[in-house]
């Protein structure tokens, strides 16, 4: 399927477990982003990547790890999940630095940490 996909769409995990959220895009966009969305906080940037093997922290990176070995994939790992990481996670991509104002979002992953 063309576009940007996320898996799983829903995930329930326990405190302390490691969980990985997947993001895949078919456009060969350079930039990819991970956000979390919580009531009262809007979209907050966790990590972003300008290209394969180039990643950088966003506003709320603590407790998360990312990698980008291939342009099309940008997995987000919660190393030891906490209840405060219960949220909706969105992956996004943009074609280039010049067009970074235009981001394309995935459908989101609803994560619950019990």
């Amino acid at each position: 399927d063309a576009g940007i996909t996320q898996s799983p769409r829903y995930k329930i995990t326990e405190t302390g477990r490691q969980v990985t959220l997947m993001c895949h895009q078919t456009w060969s966009h350079s930039y990819m982003f991970w956000y979390r969305q919580d009531l009262g906080h809007g979209l907050r940037l966790i990590y972003y990547s300008a290209a394969a093997d180039i990643t950088d922290k966003g506003e709320v990176p603590d407790g998360y790890v990312v990698s980008r070995s291939k342009t099309e994939n940008f997995p987000l790992t919660l190393e030891s999940a906490t209840r405060s990481q219960t949220s909706v996670y969105f992956c996004a991509s943009s074609e280039s630095f010049e067009s970074s104002y235009e981001q394309y979002f995935g459908p989101g992953t609803r994560l619950t940490v019990t």
């Binding site: 930039y31 982003f33 956000y35 009262g40 906080h41 809007g42 979209l43 907050r44 940037l45 972003y48 300008a50 950088d56 966003g58 969105f90 996004a92 943009s94 630095f97 970074s100 104002y101 235009e102 981001q103 394309y104 979002f105 995935g106 459908p107 989101g108």
Partner: protein, 112 residues
């Protein structure tokens, strides 16, 4: 204090009304001003963007940017029930390494 402030609403209007959604910001380096629409349980989608100051119109939607006041607006004319969604403003600058800063979103309901 947040770089981008947006009234969360909720905002409820009758069908056919003119809707005004607004954001203020503090970072004078912002050059790109975007509006995203997010339907319930979906990802945001870009509605329109404006570079620097001025107005931009796209069908029933008009985006305005006033950089002197650090204030942006989105107007929706002849609002429809299908416009019911959360609207997020977002801003970016060339110096911000490709990142955008989002407002918290305003939830709009258009009643038939």
């Amino acid at each position: 204090q947040k770089e981008v402030e947006q009234d969360p609403g909720p905002l409820s209007v009758p069908e056919g009304a003119i809707v005004s959604l607004n954001c203020t910001y503090s970072n004078s380096a912002f050059q790109y001003f975007m509006w995203y629409r997010q339907y319930s349980r979906k990802g945001p989608e870009l509605l329109m963007y404006t570079y620097s100051s001025g107005n931009k119109e796209d069908g029933r939607f008009t985006a305005q940017v006033d950089k002197s006041s650090k204030y942006i607006s989105l107007f929706i004319r002849d609002s429809q029930p299908s416009d019911s969604a959360t609207y997020l403003c977002a801003m970016s600058s060339r110096t911000n390494a490709g990142k955008s800063t989002f407002g918290d979103g305003t939830t709009l309901t258009v009643k038939p």
